[in-house]
Symmetry: C2
């Protein structure tokens, strides 16, 4: 299955199996069922039986693909990721907006909103889930960090600006609103955040151009 | 027990019971045991028996105080909070630093780091835990919002500055680092964050004074 908007991007499975070709559509159905099950019952309450019932498949169909609930969970977490496309428009505000909006969109999607708290709780106790999460986070911030570096090279921002601090503030505001305040951030609010962040490091000339 | 630094602040219990005086010290021991149990086993794996064993008390001692694991958990979440003292120094940077540093300190403490992911996961499914969390978050950001309002009145920041956006970026960076990157933020890094945030909204005169 290809990564068209609105459907999970199914990436290569960590536990790839040899044999007959995989039915990617069935994988996607099971992932959706797993996300719904964890969203409804939490990680502790979710069961393979419950996921099988939601997906309309037998337990064996799931266990043949993923040997444990943790394996399925980890795969599902990877499957709800969105790749952030690089944007190099020459404008720091626009590049940063293009890099941060997908993070906001991802956090707005019900399946990730349902999954993230359980993912964080599991990551605290399970090193392999923690690794999945860290990879996920590193990928989601990479384009924003590159946008800061390009702006630095162009002289649009103060040379000493710390890219990670800026990105932590932007991605942090989105995650904090979603997880702690229970609020989504729409495109207009993302733009407001980005403008505020750009303002914090812009050189005097670039500020006038961008505002 | 009083709220000296390094020990949990025990606030009024939601389920106050009449009868013989409560042993606050025992409450604190049980809360520490509950936090350790959830930290070690996650919310799903934590049991009252496990907490009782860690605390060196009987199950009944716990159940007399909190009728369920959820009640104890909710109390424990409240007990690890730190009140943020108001600071009105006349300097926006200093007031914001004084308001944000306790949030960073709280997130650095092992008991909250252990509890927060489970608290978030539980909050997704349990309205009363969600309410506890929201109250906690609202309290932790209040002093920072007031610091922004005072700076606005003094004319230190651009009049249109949105206090909540600024606080979301600061508290957000701290929470994001703790939960998603697994990093603590020390006082020097809090100061760097605060300076960056202040820079994003300072009026030209105040910027020169503060930097």
């Amino acid at each position: 299955m290809s990564g068209s908007m609105g459907t999970p991007v199914v990436v290569e499975r960590p536990t790839l199996r040899r044999g007959r070709p995989r039915d990617d559509r069935l994988d996607a159905v099971i992932v959706s069922a797993a996300v719904a099950e964890v969203g409804a019952k939490g990680w502790g309450g979710a069961t393979i039986d419950g996921i099988a019932a939601r997906a309309g498949v037998g337990r064996g169909t799931i266990y043949r693909r993923w040997p444990s609930k943790t394996d399925l969970f980890q795969y599902a977490a990877t499957a709800v990721m969105r790749p952030v496309e690089a944007s190099d428009s020459g404008s720091f505000v626009e590049d940063l907006f293009a890099a941060v909006l997908p993070i906001a969109d991802m956090l707005t999607r019900p399946e990730l909103a349902a999954l993230l708290p359980s993912l964080l709780a599991e990551a605290a106790n399970d090193p392999s889930i923690r690794q999945t999460l860290r990879t996920f986070v590193a990928q989601s911030r990479q384009q924003a960090i590159e946008a800061v570096e390009r702006a630095r090279i162009r002289g649009d921002i103060v040379a000493s600006t710390d890219a990670e601090t800026l990105v932590d503030m932007l991605a942090g505001a989105l995650v904090y609103r979603r997880l702690l305040l229970g609020e989504a951030t729409d495109a207009a609010a993302v733009r407001a955040l980005v403008r505020q962040a750009v303002q914090s490091c812009a050189t005097p000339t670039s500020t006038e151009e961008d505002s």
